[in-house]
Assembly symmetry: C2
Homo-oligomer: 324 residues x 2
């Protein structure tokens, strides 16, 4: 159901409940984890019982900023909230099976959101879901402490690629300013999120870069990451976050495609573009989605077939002139 | 002379003059160019004659955001301002010779500033000199248009590594928010400043990474960039900006040293550190300077001697435990 509830209504609906489950999306990132734990801490401060659930374990770099020991209480929920989840399939197999039709409130910033919950608060103009969570927490009348501020900042900085993406607004920076004033160790977060790479990850980047292919007068780059490359360089799956942005770093490239080999002949495609070109539409044709400049989809077939399919959708680049 | 003039005084001193030269530092970066042209546009709006001078040509990526055609008027200056220049030697050989003792006002954020001008407005808490320029322009009572906003944003984002460095404050983000509201194409600036790399630069990064050396239980990384490597990969000098930050990307590295071969047996060292470790002090011992977490110096001798000298200063890392 599409709702037109205000952020004030949303906060009040939460205040009428006592026990919460908060669900993140699978393969959790800084925004879904930051959203879940900012809300977790805020509701705890209001004396509520809260627990966060995620299909997959949290990558180590996020754990520095959250206290998982507090997340072990057993209880039955009165109210189930999902954060940064556009579609129930993104909950992951187990959580989807359990909660598909039971999510009471969905808080998200994806324009592609499926409105699967009883109440859906979707704000596509927010750069990160934690921007929305920040507004909700202010309306809960909770004092934002360092832990909450760091979770909110973490969501913002990861979902904006450190304030570089098109989704950044003046409001994004104002919330970041507030988080810093409230004690968020912004530099430490940035370092953990972006700067630090394992030597194996660095090796992987070099291998990927050496094998990148350019098409359509170098306006399209296709990178391929095989399971072999991961093994060869000793890179673990969880160390590969953000690697899809490499394609767009090459001078003149307007659309970058990263094709990653998965299990069972499946390939995950990640498309990145500048603000002029909408890749969400392209991914939607293959059953995927995301944001206009950062989207993904899954394909099966031979790598050659997959390349041809995606290159066909990008044919317009041949005669496309960027103004920038 | 150390002055305690307020930003209001500074603006009023400018308003009492008619013809300005603005000097940037040599090897110009986003902050010195952004500062110079933001002030240039603002003073032009006040009907003043203004011209910006720089020892070296501006790298292409900055030229997108400034109008150099307006910077060709010939006149004699009443007043000479330097922006983001910590010491007259940084003006470059020609500009230093001409203006060493003639700078009327020095506007800068380097704590190491030498106070070489008649009036020195130094604010080390500013993440970028353009933060100071923003305050001055507000006091000039000039309406900040898109050109000015983009120059200010450019200085902030380049000097903070896209809002990641320790120097970022809440104020930094608030000014960025203002710039975006005033029309700055922030995403375009970020892309031009950070994301786009030539294929030769990408190749260079891979070569450098392959040859990096780790010391002191992997807490110190030394990268070496020879003239040969530039030639081999076809990388031009001006494409190598920001390459010093590579060393600190490696997991566990607390201090990164990048040694670049220059002409005549000279080597330029760039040191990068986390907020706990002050590398400015170390560079100062070799006649260099900068900021606590990003400093540089020049050395001569064999590469082995240079490495030994700098490693000696970093010996404390062997038994140093980072809390982060």
């Amino acid at each position: 159901m599409k709702t037109r509830k205000s952020i004030f209504d949303i906060a009040n609906m939460l205040l009428r409940r006592n026990n919460f489950y908060i669900l993140t999306h699978k393969s959790p990132d800084g925004d879904t984890i930051g959203s879940a734990f900012a809300l977790f801490y805020a509701l705890k401060k209001k004396g509520r019982k809260v627990r966060v659930f995620c299909e997959d374990p949290f990558p180590e770099k996020y754990e520095f900023f959250i206290n998982l020991l507090n997340n072990e209480e057993n209880f039955e929920p009165h109210y189930i909230i999902s954060v940064d989840v556009a579609d129930t399939i993104l909950l992951g197999e187990n959580l989807e099976k359990k909660y598909e039709r039971k999510v009471d409130m969905c808080i998200d910033h994806h324009a592609s959101n499926k409105y699967f919950a009883k109440v859906n608060y979707i704000e596509p103009s927010a750069a990160a879901t934690t921007e929305i969570i920040y507004d909700i927490i202010k309306n809960l009348k909770v004092r934002i402490d360092r832990s909450i501020a760091e979770c909110i900042y973490m969501g913002i900085t990861t979902d904006t690629g450190s304030f570089r993406h098109t989704n950044v607004t003046a409001k994004t920076h104002r919330i970041a300013a507030k988080c810093i004033e409230l004690g968020a160790r912004h530099n430490l977060i940035s370092r953990k999120m972006f700067d630090i790479k394992s030597t194996s990850r660095i090796k992987l980047e070099c291998v990927v870069m050496e094998n990148i292919e350019l098409y359509y007068k170098d306006k399209c780059a296709i990178a391929f990451i095989s399971k072999d490359m991961l093994e060869q360089t000793g890179t673990r799956e969880e160390e590969t976050g953000g690697i899809a942005s490499m394609t767009r770093q090459i001078e003149g490239v307007l659309v970058g495609v990263t094709i990653r080999e998965r299990e069972n002949g499946e390939y995950k495609l990640s498309l990145r573009s500048g603000h002029e070109i909408d890749v969400q539409n392209i991914c939607a044709k293959f059953g995927g989605g995301g944001h206009p400049n950062a989207s993904g989809c899954t394909m099966t077939g031979s790598i050659k077939e997959i390349k041809n399919k995606i290159l066909k959708e990008l044919e317009f680049l041949e005669n496309y002139d960027s103004r920038f």
